[in-house]
C-alpha cells in the first residue's frame, strides 16, 4: 500500500515537472513581458502620483499622501531611474 502511494507521488512529480517545462517554454517570454510592462507602468504611476518628489508638480497632494506609504520602498529606485533615463537626443549629441 505504502509502495503504491510512493509511486503515485513520484509519477505526480514527473507530471508536474513536465507541465512546468511545457508551460515554461510556451509562456516564459510572455510572463517576462507582462512583468516588464507592469514594471514600467509602475514607474509611470509613481511619476504621476508622486511627481512632486522630482519637482514635477502633480495634482492633488492631499490624495497623493494617501498612496505614499505603499510606494516608500520603490521611491529610491524610481528616482534613480527617472534621473538616469535619457532620450534619443542625448545619444545624438
Amino acid at each position: 500500500m505504502e509502495e503504491e502511494q510512493k509511486r503515485t507521488d513520484w509519477l505526480g512529480r514527473i507530471g508536474r515537472s513536465l507541465a512546468d517545462y511545457i508551460y515554461g517554454m510556451a509562456t516564459h517570454e510572455s510572463t517576462r513581458f507582462a512583468l516588464k510592462t507592469r514594471g514600467s507602468m509602475e514607474h509611470l504611476f509613481i511619476l504621476i502620483t508622486m511627481g512632486d518628489l522630482l519637482g514635477v508638480p502633480i495634482l492633488p497632494p492631499y490624495y497623493s499622501l494617501r498612496l505614499l506609504p505603499y510606494v516608500v520602498p520603490q521611491i529610491s529606485t524610481w528616482k534613480r531611474r527617472m534621473l538616469r533615463e535619457k532620450d534619443l537626443t542625448d545619444a545624438l549629441a
Binding site: L65, L68, Y70
Partner: protein, 328 residues
C-alpha cells in the same frame, strides 16, 4: 414662486447651497434656512466649507473644529477645522509608514515630502473637500446646508471637483491596467493567490469619495443651489457671469434671493432724508432689472435689517422674512 414653496414642492432636495459674492448674506441665509427647516421638525446640519467660516459668529457660539454642535433641537452646525484635520492626516500617514515597514523613524526624504505636500496652497481646500464627504456619507440628517465660500472660490471648488474627478479616473484606469498585467503573469506562472493591490483599493476609495462630493454639487434631484444678490449694479453683473459659469459645471441653480432691500414703509416717512430716498429709488431700479432678468426665479426679497443678524432671535426674524409665504 416662493422659497417656502420650493422646499415644499421638492422635498427630495436635501443638499442646500447658497452662493454669491462675499458679504451678501450667504451665511445669514444658510443659518436662517437651517433654523426654518429645524422649526418644521427636520433634522438639519448647516456646515461651512469656508476656511474663514462665520457660523460661530452668527450663532454666537464657538463651534470651530468641534464637530456637529446642537444649536437648538434639530439644528446642528459645524465648522471644519482644516488645519488640525491636515495635521491629523499627516500623522496618520506617518504612522502607516512606520507600521508597514517596521521603522522607528520616517526616512528624511519621505518626511520632507509629507511636509511639503501639506504646505501646498490646495491642501486646505482638499482637506475640507474630503471632510465634506465624511459629513454627507455619515448621514443622519434630513437636510445638509452648505455655507459656501464666495463666488470665485466656489468656482475653484467646483473646478477642483471636476479636475480631481478626471485625475482619479485616469490613474485608477492605469492602475487597473497594471493589475491586468500582474494577473496575466500570475496566470502564466500558475500562481493561485495574487496579493490584493492595496494602492488600487486606496484609489478606488479616493475615487468614490471624490465622485460622491462632486456628484452632489451637480445632482438635479437632490441639490438646490440659490444665488444671493443685492440690488446693485456690480453685484448683478457678477452674479449673471457666475451663474453662467456655474451652469457650465452643471450646478442646478434653483433660484435667486434678493437681500438688503430697503423696506417700502421708509417712503411714508415724511422726513426721509434725500440720501435714503435716492438709495431707495436706485434699488427700485435694480429690483426691476432683477425681475426682468431672472423672472420667477426670484424667490424672495429680504429687507435690510436695522441691525446685524447674529444670535437666534435675529435669525428667527430673518427666517420669517425669507420664508414668508406669498404665493402658496
Amino acid at each position: 414662486m416662493s422659497l417656502a414653496r420650493i422646499f415644499r414642492d421638492h422635498t427630495q432636495r436635501r443638499y442646500i447651497m447658497f452662493g454669491g459674492k462675499g458679504g451678501l448674506g450667504k451665511t445669514t441665509f444658510s443659518a436662517a434656512t437651517a433654523y426654518w427647516l429645524a422649526s418644521q421638525g427636520k433634522r438639519v446640519l448647516v456646515f461651512s466649507v469656508d476656511p474663514q467660516a462665520s457660523l460661530s459668529d452668527i450663532f454666537e457660539r464657538d463651534i470651530y473644529g468641534k464637530g456637529a454642535v446642537e444649536i437648538i433641537p434639530n439644528l446642528y452646525a459645524q465648522e471644519i477645522d482644516a488645519d488640525s484635520h491636515i495635521k491629523a492626516y499627516q500623522e496618520e500617514i506617518r504612522k502607516k509608514i512606520l507600521d508597514m515597514y517596521g521603522l522607528d523613524q520616517i526616512p528624511e526624504e519621505i518626511e520632507s515630502y509629507i511636509q511639503a505636500a501639506a504646505a501646498e496652497p490646495a491642501m486646505e481646500e482638499s482637506a475640507i473637500f474630503d471632510q465634506v464627504v465624511d459629513i454627507v456619507v455619515a448621514g443622519g440628517y434630513d437636510y445638509y446646508i452648505y455655507d459656501l465660500v464666495p463666488l470665485g472660490h466656489a468656482l475653484y471648488y467646483l473646478s477642483m471637483a471636476s479636475v480631481y474627478d478626471q485625475w482619479i479616473s485616469k490613474i485608477t484606469a492605469l492602475r487597473e491596467q497594471m493589475r491586468e498585467y500582474e494577473q496575466m503573469a500570475a496566470r502564466f506562472q500558475r500562481k493561485k493567490e495574487l496579493q490584493e493591490d492595496q494602492i488600487l483599493a486606496e484609489l478606488q476609495d479616493i475615487k468614490y469619495r471624490i465622485q460622491t462630493s462632486s456628484g452632489i454639487l451637480t445632482d438635479r434631484e437632490k441639490t438646490a443651489f440659490f444665488f444671493v444678490v443685492v440690488p446693485e449694479e456690480m453685484i448683478l453683473i457678477d452674479t449673471q457671469k457666475a451663474a453662467g459659469l456655474f451652469r457650465k459645471f452643471d450646478v442646478p441653480i434653483s433660484g435667486y434671493i434678493v437681500n438688503r432691500v430697503l423696506p417700502d414703509h421708509l417712503l411714508q416717512s415724511p422726513n426721509l432724508p434725500e440720501y435714503l430716498r435716492n438709495r431707495y429709488v436706485m434699488q427700485q431700479n435694480y429690483l426691476d432689472k432683477i425681475d426682468s432678468i431672472f423672472g420667477d426665479e426670484v424667490l424672495a426679497r429680504v429687507h435690510e435689517m436695522e441691525r446685524d443678524v447674529t444670535g437666534l432671535p435675529m435669525i428667527e426674524r430673518l427666517a420669517k422674512l425669507m420664508f414668508a409665504d406669498g404665493a402658496a
